[in-house]
């Protein structure tokens, strides 16, 4: 085999003509793609919904998309919708924050002390399958029909999942990390505050995010209790008045609100908690 020789004939340099198009960064392309998918899938839902009402579905029971949007628009203009949103949001936030605080504190104790866990686990396991709706009568009995009973329902919907996740995160701190901290002179309190709790952050945040969804599911149950306003009230009141378009506005509002709050939650955490999520362990 002879080494490849350079061709005697001089080949002209290949000219490449660049089309004058802009190359978008992958993140932007991904965003545009996702947005397109979202618009298409929601449009399909609206079109199918529109076609089904009056044909497959009884128009008296299912409002058309146009009627729902028109109703939403009038409720926005009158400010009525914002009042309901405001009231429900306040209940969710107060109940959720209180539930998270209780859940993290009690979960931390349960995760840290096996003895406490052994005694508390049976209670938690027994209470866990009881849905927030099932507690409505009890809440009325205990707290009457004021705000307290609504907060109670939301707290209940939040606390167990936060508690379980916190306990799991706290008890799963690597033994090696605890020992390393001991060698560096950490006492019990420092160990908990500076090693175990930060190690559990990914678990705690996962629990808090799931609980956020639960608290929105709980709002309708909470507003079963003698509410005069709020989205849950709006939905149930519409059912009694056979106001299907208003009922659909309520459902839609609940969905959008939950989505927006979840996005805000994630955006806030992405910034503030980033260093605790940087871990090469599986979570």
């Amino acid at each position: 085999m002879q080494p490849a020789q350079k061709s005697a004939i001089e080949t002209p340099p290949i000219k490449t003509v660049h089309a004058p198009h802009i190359v978008l960064p992958p993140a932007v392309r991904r965003f545009i793609w996702r947005l397109t998918c979202t618009v298409i899938s929601l449009s399909v839902v609206v079109v199918v919904w529109h076609l089904c009402v009056g044909t497959l579905l009884n128009a008296a029971l299912v409002a058309t998309p146009e009627a729902t949007l028109a109703k939403a628009w009038t409720m926005i203009q009158s400010g009525e919708l914002f009042e309901h949103v405001g009231v429900s949001l306040r209940r969710v936030i107060v109940g959720y924050v209180a539930g998270c605080v209780i859940g993290v504190l009690s979960g931390a104790i349960i995760g840290r002390y096996q003895l406490v866990a052994d005694f508390v686990d049976p209670i938690v396991e027994l209470v866990r399958p009881i849905s927030p709706v099932a507690l409505v009568p009890l809440a009325m009995l205990w707290f009457g029909i004021g705000e307290a009973s609504k907060y109670f329902i939301i707290i209940y919907a939040t606390v167990i999942i936060v508690l379980l996740n916190t306990a799991a995160g706290v008890s799963r701190t690597p033994v090696t990390r605890i020992r390393a901290a001991r060698c560096l002179g950490a006492n019990d309190f420092q160990l908990f505050r500076k090693v175990i709790l930060p190690s559990a952050v990914p678990y705690i945040l996962t629990g808090m995010r799931i609980a956020l969804g639960f608290s929105f599911m709980g709002i309708v149950a909470a507003e079963l209790i003698g509410a005069r306003e709020g989205i849950g009230f709006l939905i149930m009141n519409s059912q009694m008045l056979m106001q299907t378009s208003q009922l659909f506005v309520g459902l839609l509002t609940l969905g959008i609100l939950g989505l927006v709050v979840d996005r805000v939650f994630r955006a806030l955490l992405a910034k503030s908690m980033r260093r605790y999520m940087r871990t090469d362990e599986l979570v």
Binding site: T176, R177, R179, R182, R278, D280
Partner: protein, 285 residues
């Protein structure tokens, strides 16, 4: 030994430095309860004397309980029987709870480092817990980071570091506490051969510079001979003991190809092989 004072190695209760000459394990036994409810004797009758300033390598087949000895010395676990104490000018002092006088370097650096703190913050974790003023540790921070070659990487987070760099960070974090004894549990076992060798060379240098007592657990014969002043070979577990102890007075830097070195490798290989055969006989293989 029940009446002995338990105190950190650094100072005793009156605040005077402890003048210890050697660390001794006397008839130490450690057993665990297995999942089947049976008592499993991991260590049986361990007698060790480690002199201050030694680079003592504990060598043995895997599962023989080498690491268990380290956890006992560190104070993470308490021996089932026997005692661990230092001897010296102050008489005998039983080792206290885990503390900064005996810092451990773990094999699993990802678990041992705090992933939410960067290298500098990891190294400063100990001094900050002790409320040492910043101007008092600023100089030693710089000193130890450059000693382990991480001066340029102080702001990096553990997940941005290679395996070798993580171990360097662990070593700096331990050294800044100025421990009397450095306990190292197969720290380089998970590293590639080249990184491993360069860290071994640096560790030997750090040991010479700082004069710390190092107790180093390994299953690598060449590593033990490259680093140690003494090597203790353990029998295969369960109920492991120290089988033999050899003194290594080969001058540093050590060369693996010298006659003395090769002879010692062979000697230790024979010892380890004996243990492997012993285990096979026990299992009935």
């Amino acid at each position: 030994m029940t009446d002995a004072k338990r105190a950190p190695l650094r100072t005793n209760r009156t605040g005077t430095p402890i003048d210890w000459k050697s660390l001794r394990l006397d008839h130490v036994e450690k057993s665990f309860e297995g999942l089947d409810g049976q008592t499993y004797v991991a260590l049986e009758n361990i007698n060790l004397e480690i002199r201050r300033g030694d680079f003592y390598c504990l060598l043995g087949p895997s599962g023989c309980g080498k690491s268990t000895i380290l956890t006992l010395i560190a104070g993470f676990e308490i021996p089932t029987a026997g005692s661990i104490f230092t001897e010296g000018g102050n008489g005998r002092t039983a080792l206290g709870n885990p503390g900064t006088d005996r810092t451990m370097i773990f094999q699993d650096a990802s678990a041992a480092l705090f992933p939410w703190l960067n290298v500098e913050e990891n190294v400063l974790f100990g001094p900050k817990l002790a409320n040492v003023r910043h101007e008092n540790y600023a100089a030693s921070l710089k000193n130890y980071l450059s000693m382990v070659g991480l001066g340029e990487h102080a702001r990096k987070f553990p997940f941005e570091l290679s395996g070798g760099m993580k171990q360097r960070a662990q070593i700096a974090r331990a050294l800044i506490m100025e421990p009397e004894i450095l306990l190292m549990d197969e720290p380089f076992a998970a590293l590639d051969a080249i990184t491993k060798r360069s860290l071994q060379i640096e560790l030997a240098r750090i040991w010479q510079e700082t004069g710390k007592t190092i107790i180093y657990v390994t299953h690598d014969i060449i590593e033990a001979l490259l680093l140690g002043t003494r090597v203790g070979v353990m029998t295969a577990g369960p109920a492991a003991r120290i089988k033999t102890e050899i003194e290594i007075d080969v001058p540093r830097p050590r060369v693996t190809t010298s006659h003395d070195f090769v002879d010692m490798v062979r000697l230790l290989e024979l010892q380890i092989e004996e243990e492997i055969h012993a285990t096979r006989a026990k299992v009935g293989d």
